[in-house]
């Protein structure tokens, strides 16, 4: 707990009579990758929305480095939380490079006059941002698509572009909402390696994913969310063996699910 970077305490989110999240607490350590799993409608994305200031929790609080998150998503991003989306939400009519440059927005300084007259301060800031986005596009392997409109990119590459755009905000916490949804085995493996190299940069990551094999081979810790409540928390091994997870999360006869989960272990 000593070097926890993100702390959620008793986060509860109600929409009218529906309790989407009930008393969820967890913490994220620096350089850690946490997996967040649970059946559809368990509240995973709602939790992400609470962690990014899109929703302010009905009760409980979220703190980044001990400081409570502001209610304005723009300020949360500035403090260092970035995310991607389950249904890809790039800026479709901007190029890949421009999408990353938009991510750079809160780290850039340009005075109005300098940007109208293209003064030295403006040029320096644009050059810095362009260099950084070129680095990030290379990091996710999209350099060749730099001038392509985001909506024309192949599906898997759109997901990688979203990650590059999120990284452009210089986050200390990165939230990935189903980063491998719709990907084939190779793309999934590439994404796994990408997330590991993001961790190398010192960024802490929370990943929502349905692909249990992906989660268990990637994450340091796994949280299981069921009907808005944190059911189990532990290492992949602990979670995998927990009968409550098998029963509640997958809702299938235990033997079958066991087989499914362990099937993932054979391939590295």
């Amino acid at each position: 707990m000593t070097d926890a970077i993100l702390n959620a305490t008793g986060v509860t989110m109600r929409f009218g009579g529906l309790t989407a999240l009930n008393d969820v607490s967890f913490s994220l350590t620096e350089g850690e990758v946490i997996g967040l799993i649970g059946p559809n409608g368990a509240g995973k994305t709602t939790l992400f929305n609470c962690l990014t200031g899109l929703y302010s929790p009905t009760a409980g609080e979220v703190a980044l480095r001990g400081k409570q998150l502001p209610e304005d998503p723009a300020k949360v991003t500035e403090l260092g939380v970035a995310r991607t989306f389950q249904n890809i939400r790039l800026f479709p009519s901007m190029t890949a490079e421009e999408n990353v440059l938009v991510g750079r927005h809160c780290r850039m300084k340009q005075s109005p006059f300098s940007s109208l007259l293209h003064g030295p301060g403006f040029r320096r800031s644009e050059a810095e941002a362009l260099t950084r986005s070129a680095e990030l596009l290379e990091f996710v392997g999209l350099t060749r698509f730099s001038d392509e409109l985001a909506r024309n990119l192949p599906y898997g590459d759109q997901r990688r572009l979203e990650i590059a755009r999120a990284l452009a905000t210089d986050p200390s916490v990165l939230l990935l909402d189903e980063p491998t949804a719709g990907m084939n085995a190779q793309e999934t493996e590439a994404t796994r390696r990408l997330i590991l190299s993001i961790r190398e940069l010192g960024v802490s990551v929370v990943v929502i994913e349905h692909d249990t094999k992906f989660i268990f081979t990637l994450c340091d810790r796994v949280l299981v969310l069921v009907q808005g409540e944190l059911l189990v928390e532990g290492t992949p091994d602990e979670v995998r063996g927990d009968p409550r997870v098998v029963e509640a999360y997958l809702g299938a006869p235990p033997e079958e699910v066991e087989a499914q989960i362990h099937a993932g272990e054979q391939t590295p």
Partner: protein, 310 residues
């Protein structure tokens, strides 16, 4: 007659670039908040009257006659007053309705439009009739002999074309290659995600109104300087043309607004010259073109067939 044709082309380009300058405000605001800001034409009119007031009541006579000094001052004053009115309008009329159904701000825009027009009529001295606008640029025309005729080009007309195209170019560069310009485009494509990129949408929306109003204010001064006479109806009339131009070019698109403006200018002057009915029918041809474009290419010249919105 070649010279007649070319004269009308010149007139069309002058009118068209002025219309295009106003159309930029319609198209930008629509791009960001999907509001047809019907009060934008009145912002143009207010800019024109603002410049006039500045000239009449603030400028010492010695400066009034030095156009190279008075004109820049007037352009700045017109833009500044238009910006102030637009910012107040955004803050108090549109922002409270940000999440209301789209019809509400639209009706409000009509209301603001009437309010601004009436405010000028009631409070500006002698505004019930047309007011002479000061000569703040070189008067006269440059006559270019072509074939057996001449093509006259007003100096004020040249000023309009040069200033409008320069400003449109500057705006386009700003929107495409600057931090706030990208923030504007991002906000227009997906406001929620833009917020998650650290962009403050309120600031972007205000900036959009400011830029549009500044251009309209400049247009108001140029219009007065060219015609030498303004009245409180110029906003309604030119605003309607500019709105049509924005729709023709593809609303939400900056290049489209300028192209639409030029097309309207040319249709008006050439239609008035060559089509049956003459000048009294020139408005008709503008809207015939609008209808034709809406039938065959509803998204406008540069518009996208489908807007991807969350």
């Amino acid at each position: 007659m070649l010279s007649t044709f070319l004269s009308q082309v010149v007139n069309g380009l002058i009118l068209g670039s002025l219309i295009g300058l106003i159309a930029l405000g319609y198209t930008m605001v629509y791009g960001i908040i999907q509001l047809i800001n019907f009060a934008h034409g009145e912002i143009f009119m207010v800019g024109s009257y603002g410049g006039l007031a500045m000239f009449t009541y603030l400028l010492p006579t010695a400066i009034q006659n030095q156009w190279w000094f008075a004109l820049p001052l007037l352009l700045i004053a017109g833009a500044a007053i238009a910006v102030v009115v637009a910012v107040l309008m955004e803050r108090f009329a549109y922002r409270p309705l940000r999440n209301a159904p789209r019809l509400a701000p639209l009706i409000t825009a009509l209301g603001v439009s009437v309010a601004l027009q009436e405010a000028v009529r009631v409070f500006y001295p002698n505004a019930t009739a047309a007011v002479p606008f000061p000569k703040v640029f070189v008067e006269g025309t440059l006559a270019i002999p072509i074939g057996d005729g001449i093509v006259p080009i007003r100096y004020t007309g040249m000023l309009i074309i040069v200033v409008s195209l320069l400003l449109a170019f500057a705006l386009n560069t700003f929107v495409n290659n600057s931090r706030m310009g990208r923030a504007m485009r991002a906000t227009s494509q997906d406001r929620d995600v833009a917020r998650l990129m650290g962009i403050n949408p309120d600031r972007v929306i205000v900036l959009t109104f400011v830029l549009g109003a500044a251009l309209a204010g400049v247009a108001g001064i140029l219009y007065g300087a060219d015609l030498g006479l303004i009245n409180i109806n110029i906003g309604l009339q030119n605003g309607l043309f500019a709105f049509t131009a924005a729709v023709l070019g593809g609303i939400g698109n900056i290049k489209g607004a300028v192209a639409g403006g030029l097309v309207i200018g040319l249709v008006k002057t050439l239609g008035g010259q060559y089509l049956p009915g003459g000048t009294p029918y020139d408005y008709v041809w503008i809207f015939v073109v609008l209808i034709a474009v809406l039938v065959f290419r509803p998204q406008g010249f540069f518009g996208e067939t489908e807007r991807v919105r969350a």
